[in-house]
């Protein structure tokens, strides 16, 4: 289950086990788009329970970042594993939004 906790213009998305990959992209996209449309400007994705992010997942995060930035908001990723941090760094994702490890 991918849960979204909302407080004013901030929201936290926390999956219980769903990796940020192609198969789960529609669920994440729906949550993120819904939140932004609903007024969320600070979106935090908690990857504590996520083992894998693929290129589709990275694209999803970049799209969310681009949408939020246009509206003056921002995206942050927290609790990423060392492997995911390494992937983000090699793809230079960490230059665009805040990424922190476990």
């Amino acid at each position: 289950m991918i849960t979204l906790t909302r407080e004013d213009s901030r929201a936290l998305i926390r999956p219980t086990e769903e990796d940020v990959v192609a198969a789960w992209a529609p669920e994440y996209r729906s949550k993120m788009r819904g939140a932004v449309a609903d007024g969320v400007r600070e979106l935090v994705l908690d990857l504590a329970n996520v083992q894998m992010v693929d290129s589709t997942g990275i694209g999803l995060l970049i799209a969310a970042h681009n949408s939020l930035r246009k509206l003056g908001g921002h995206l942050a990723v927290i609790h990423a594993s060392a492997d995911i941090l390494d992937l983000f760094q090699s793809m230079r994702i960490h230059q665009h939004f805040s990424v922190s490890g476990q």
């Binding site: 192609a22 290129s55 589709t56 694209g59 594993s81 793809m91």
Partner: protein, 148 residues
């Protein structure tokens, strides 16, 4: 040096061009990797499998659920080989390699996409994590090798 893979596994499957089929295949691969591959190598191995398969779904099969593609995977001693072939028109992989080499030559990122683009990172990940990536002439088959 102690081999990272203690045993091995082979997976041969024809998959529907849908993300759920890729996910199912990758979850099965993860089970084998947890059993046969040392922890530090599992993420890269699974990521390569995912990107090779995603590439076939999106580009080879144009995300048409009616299309299918074939995947052969072998996890042997110190080596993962993934071969994927689809019935698509292929792509100009030489042009991609040229662009990638140009980027490296100009000290730009080895990733193929602009960093703010929302797509186009699959091949960059293959090149970043694999030991070797080879395409057939037509560009509708790829073989990815990872040595551990």
């Amino acid at each position: 040096m102690k081999p990272s893979v203690r045993y091995g596994c082979e997976l041969w499957q024809t998959l529907a061009a849908v993300p759920s089929a890729v996910e199912e295949f990758c979850i099965e691969f993860r089970r084998h990797a947890e059993k046969h591959l040392d922890r530090p190598h599992r993420f890269a191995a699974e990521l390569l499998v995912r990107e090779a398969l995603n590439n076939a779904v999106v580009h080879g099969c144009r995300s048409d659920p009616g299309n299918r593609f074939r995947c052969a995977l072998r996890l042997g001693v110190g080596r993962l080989t993934i071969a994927v072939i689809d019935d698509g028109d292929g792509f100009d992989w030489r042009a991609v390699l040229r662009r990638r080499n140009d980027n490296v030559a100009t000290a730009a990122t080895a990733a193929t996409a602009a960093t703010t683009a929302a797509s186009g990172r699959g091949l960059g990940i293959l090149f970043r994590y694999a030991t070797r990536v080879r395409f057939n002439e037509k560009g509708n088959a790829v073989t990815v090798v990872k040595r551990f």
